[in-house]
Each structure stands twice: as structure tokens, then as C-alpha cells.
């Protein structure tokens, strides 16, 4: 289950006055089971990159391989890609349309070739894993739910197909802190079960905590690609790339400016805490 992009470029409306170069010469390999964070300024090409990976658009140049097969090749079966990759758009609740939660979640399984019983199992699993009570909510209309519940149902509708790769475009924008944490924990749980996670977010705290690798785009080019503990070292560079850093990294940086010896790869609260404690006890300089 790997995704490989080879010299991928994408241009919107080529040959017109609205021509926009969104991506240029992207080379990237994403391995099985990674938790990848994708960052960058608004308009740098993140959404475009994700949509190319799920085959919603075709690259203007370059190739994309999923499990070694060119997904835009002539004899590639699109249904295979749909089964493997799930995509959560920003505000996914917009996709709800069925009369009951259960039916909406089951929508994606129609052409999956699963038996009725298997499909029902998947639906129950998906509704429960997003933290909803299956028996209570299954026959309720999705439109009568609260905003947070709607979003969970929508995400359950994507998880029901049990994708091996989950791609998320700014999924936590507009969630309250509790809902956000619950959602991020869910992605971590899925990742622990072997699902590859590729997530766009502006939330450096979230990505520092959960992602193992960070990729930053700048004007359609790959500007940074490194393990997350190394990704946030060069603060000046990140500033020009329009990417923030986690609070823990920020505090560690302030401490080092005050003369305390702090490693530059502290990005999580858990890593910062021992240091703070030892400083507070006066034992660290």
C-alpha cells in the first residue's frame, strides 16, 4: 500500500487567462502505515495534491502509482482505487443525503461487492468507531443531528468501506477542542490498526503530536519533507513558508533564547514537560 508520485505537475485551466500552476514537479513516496502531515500557506496546492492522489483529477504531467500501478493508466480499474482510498473533505457533512444514518453510512458499500451481512457489520463498526451509539442513531435522519454528530456520520460513511489509506483535507477546522481531540484520537487509532493517514492541517500542535512525517508545500513545490521531530527546527524558514509551530516548540525556543540548553527537536508537550520541571527545580542550565 504505497503511494508514489513521480514528477507530478498540475495546471488549472491551461491555455486561458485563468491559467494557474498549482503543482510543479512533485516527487514523493508515502509508505504503508505512515501518518503524514501536509502543511503550507493557503493556495500552495495541498488540496490539489490530495485530489490527484485519489484520482479525482489527472496530473498535467507526471505519474501517480498506488501499489505500483499507474492510477491514470489506460487499463487501471478506478473502483479499485475507490476501495483502497477514502477521502474526507473539509466540512464532510455536506455529503449527507439519505433518510437515515444507517443508509447514509452504507451508501459507499453499494458497489463494494460485500454481502449484506458483511456490509451491515461494516456500518455498525463505522458508526461505533466515530463515537456514536449505533442502536440509538441508526434510524434517525442525519439532518436532525447536531453539527458535530453530522460530521461524525459523514466520516463514518467514508470509514465504512474500510479504506487502507485515509486522506483528510483540513478535517478539524471548525471543531471544538473536545471534538477535535476525539477526532485526532480516532485517526491515531486507525493508524495503529495499519491505515495510512495523510492529513492537511494548519494546526501544528495536532500534527506535531500525531504525524510521524511532515511535508510542506510552497507555491506548488515541495519545500520540506522530513520526520516531524526534525521538521520544526528552522523557525525562520517555517516563518517564510507560512507554517506555524507547536506551542511546545515555541516554549522550547524561548527557553533556549533565555540561555537554557534545550534540544531543537522538542515538539510535543510530553517532551517539554521534564525539561520545564527540571528548570523549575533549578537543576538545569
Amino acid at each position: 500500500m504505497s503511494i508514489e508520485l513521480s514528477r507530478v505537475s498540475y495546471t488549472y485551466s491551461p491555455g486561458t487567462v485563468f491559467e494557474t500552476v498549482a503543482l510543479q514537479e512533485i516527487n514523493l513516496t508515502i509508505e504503508d502505515g505512515e501518518y503524514l502531515g501536509l502543511m503550507g500557506k493557503t493556495g500552495c496546492g495541498k488540496s490539489t495534491l490530495l485530489q490527484l492522489m485519489v484520482g479525482l483529477m489527472q496530473p498535467s504531467r507526471g505519474q501517480i502509482f498506488v501499489d505500483g500501478k499507474d492510477i491514470n493508466g489506460r487499463d487501471y480499474v478506478r473502483a479499485e482505487l475507490r476501495r483502497k482510498i477514502g477521502m474526507v473533505f473539509q466540512y464532510p457533512e455536506i455529503q449527507l443525503f439519505e433518510t437515515s444514518v444507517e443508509k447514509d453510512v452504507a451508501f459507499g458499500l453499494k458497489h463494494s461487492g460485500l454481502s449484506k451481512a458483511e456490509a451491515a457489520d461494516n456500518v455498525r463498526w463505522a458508526i461505533e468507531i466515530v463515537g456514536l451509539d449505533y442502536d440509538k442513531i441508526r434510524s434517525v435522519s442525519p439532518f436532525s443531528l447536531s453539527g458535530g454528530e453530522k460530521r461524525r456520520v459523514a466520516i463514518a460513511g467514508i470509514l465504512a468501506a474500510k479504506p487502507k489509506i485515509l486522506i483528510l483535507d483540513e478535517p478539524i477546522a471548525g471543531l471544538d477542542p473536545k471534538g477535535r481531540d476525539a477526532f485526532l484520537d480516532l485517526t491515531q487509532k486507525l493508524n495503529a490498526d495499519g491505515v495510512t493517514i495523510i492529513m492537511v492541517s494548519h494546526n501544528a500542535d495536532a500534527l506535531s503530536k500525531y504525524a510521524s512525517r511532515i511535508i510542506i508545500l510552497d507555491s506548488g513545490r515541495l519545500a520540506l519533507d522530513s520526520p516531524s521531530k526534525d521538521a520544526f527546527k528552522d523557525l525562520a524558514r517555517l516563518e517564510t513558508l507560512g507554517v506555524g509551530v507547536s506551542q511546545a516548540r515555541e516554549v522550547a525556543h524561548l527557553l533556549s533564547q533565555c540561555g537554557f540548553q534545550t534540544p531543537a527537536d522538542i515538539i510535543r508537550y510530553e517532551e517539554l514537560q521534564p525539561l520545564l520541571l527540571s528548570i523549575a527545580r533549578g537543576g538545569h542550565l
Binding site: F18, L56, Q95, F97, F107, S112
Partner: protein, 271 residues
């Protein structure tokens, strides 16, 4: 996306872009009427040259100016065939069953096609060189005399401009919904008609809900800011008419008069 949507505004700084939008709309109206008046070969040549000249002045490339008619070739062919085969039984070459093909019918069909074609191209040039909001202002301006007989022209223009403003938002939302349902396994790209029909509801329901939600939010926002439907909307920017505006209108009127004159000379011909 390979080509631009038909009639989309293309920013520019050509003489046509700079014309006052009310004058442009009035000129379009006169030009379309003139196109219908034309009934001679010379008249059509003049009209084609005139519209080509406007297209060149506007800086809109020829393919873009012509893309208004891209999807209509079948329509044109059918009109042409219908006229050729049914229009004039009197001087048909021969008659077979219900078909009476004639040269008169063919030329008449050709003129109908040409008129529709020219009207579409010139309208396309207008919408390509005028921001949608300007068009609604121009429309409001032109229909304002009707307010004296009790027609709420201000509100009509407001409704139109809101509708136009929402098109890009709704188009974007439609695109997102289509993509979201596709990644969930909806088969929009399927060739089977049953699967196509099946994919309608997952599109239509979210689109309607999104549109209603937007309309609802907008009406609340308008009310909160004190909108009570009173007319007299102000323009964001308005400039006085310039010599060029009057000149453009004069040219269009002259072309129109010329065509009327040609038609009077040519009364006996009827295509």
C-alpha cells in the same frame, strides 16, 4: 477543466471592456434586433464583419468568442435539415413521402442558423467583457422606467444580482459534493444509465440543502443590516458617460439604420 465555461467574464482593458455597461446592454439589444431585421446577402456580410470587428476590439480570442455555440452544432444541423425538407413544398426539387427538399428551404434554414449564431456570439462577447454585477446594474438602469407603472424594478435587479453572485459559490459546492460522493463510490462517470440515475439523488439533495442554507443565512444577514426592499441601490462605482460611450451607441444605431435601409430596398426578397 479543458475550456472555460461559456460566457464567463474575462478581465481585460479593451475599448469594449471600458464601455459603460448600460450602453453596452442597450447596444446588444439593438444589435440583436438588427440581426433579426437583416434579409439580404449584403446585410449578412455587413453584420458578420461588424461582429468580427467588435470581437477583435474586445481582445477576446476567437475560440472563446465562438464557444457560445460549441454545444449547439446539432441544433443548427437539425434546424437546417428541417427547413430544407419541409419549408417550401411549392418549389421542391422532388417530393418523397412527407419530404419536400428545396433550395428556398435550405437558404431559409441557413439564415435562421446564422441569426441565432450571430446573436449568441454577440451576447457572449457582452458577458465576457462585463462583470456580472455590472450587467445587473445596467439591467436595473434600463428597466427603471417601468417602476413608474408599479413594477418593482429595484427588487428584480436585486434578486438577479444575488442569483448571479451565488453562481460561483454554488458551482464550487457542487464540485465538492460531486467529488465527495465519487470518492465514496458514486458512479457519475459510469456509462450505464441505471447507475447514472442512481447517482442523481446523492448530488441533488446536498446541492439543494446547501442552496437553501445559503439563502437562509443571507436573508438573515440582510435583515440584520436593515434591508427592507427599498429601491435606490447605489452603485459601487459609476462614472459619467464619455464621448466613447455615445460614439459606440451611435455606431450601433448607424448599423441598425443601414440594415433597415437595405431591408426597404430589398423588400421583395424574403429571407
Amino acid at each position: 477543466m479543458k475550456s472555460l465555461p461559456t460566457g464567463i467574464f474575462i478581465p481585460g482593458d479593451s475599448p469594449i471592456h471600458r464601455l459603460d455597461s448600460s450602453i453596452k446592454l442597450l447596444a446588444l439589444f439593438i444589435t440583436v434586433v438588427t440581426i433579426v431585421l437583416v434579409n439580404s446577402f449584403l446585410g449578412y456580410v455587413i453584420m458578420i464583419l461588424f461582429i468580427m470587428m467588435i470581437a477583435m476590439l474586445s481582445g477576446i480570442s476567437l475560440p472563446v468568442a465562438l464557444n457560445a455555440t460549441n454545444k449547439l452544432y446539432w441544433f443548427f444541423i437539425i434546424i437546417l435539415l428541417m427547413n430544407t425538407f419541409f419549408y417550401s413544398p411549392e418549389d421542391a426539387w422532388f417530393s418523397f413521402w412527407v419530404f419536400t427538399p428545396s433550395m428556398t428551404g435550405f437558404t431559409y434554414g441557413l439564415t435562421v442558423v446564422l441569426r441565432v449564431f450571430l446573436a449568441l456570439v454577440i451576447s457572449n462577447i457582452l458577458t465576457s467583457t462585463t462583470p456580472p454585477m455590472e450587467i445587473t446594474h445596467a439591467l436595473e438602469h434600463l428597466i427603471s422606467p417601468f417602476s413608474y407603472v408599479g413594477i418593482p424594478t429595484g427588487q428584480i435587479a436585486m434578486i438577479l444580482s444575488i442569483a448571479i453572485q451565488f453562481i460561483p459559490t454554488l458551482a464550487e459546492e457542487t464540485d465538492t459534493i460531486r467529488k465527495a460522493q465519487m470518492t465514496r463510490g458514486a458512479r457519475f462517470d459510469s456509462k450505464k444509465i441505471t447507475q447514472k440515475a442512481e447517482a442523481v439523488l446523492p448530488m441533488v439533495i446536498p446541492i439543494f440543502l446547501a442552496a437553501f442554507k445559503r439563502a437562509d443565512e443571507l436573508s438573515v444577514a440582510m435583515e440584520a443590516r436593515g434591508y427592507r426592499g427599498v429601491s435606490g441601490r447605489t452603485k459601487k462605482s459609476s462614472r459619467p458617460l464619455l464621448v466613447g460611450d455615445y460614439g459606440a451607441l451611435l455606431i450601433v444605431l448607424l448599423v441598425c439604420l443601414l440594415q433597415i435601409a437595405l431591408r426597404l430596398i430589398n423588400l421583395t426578397r424574403t429571407y
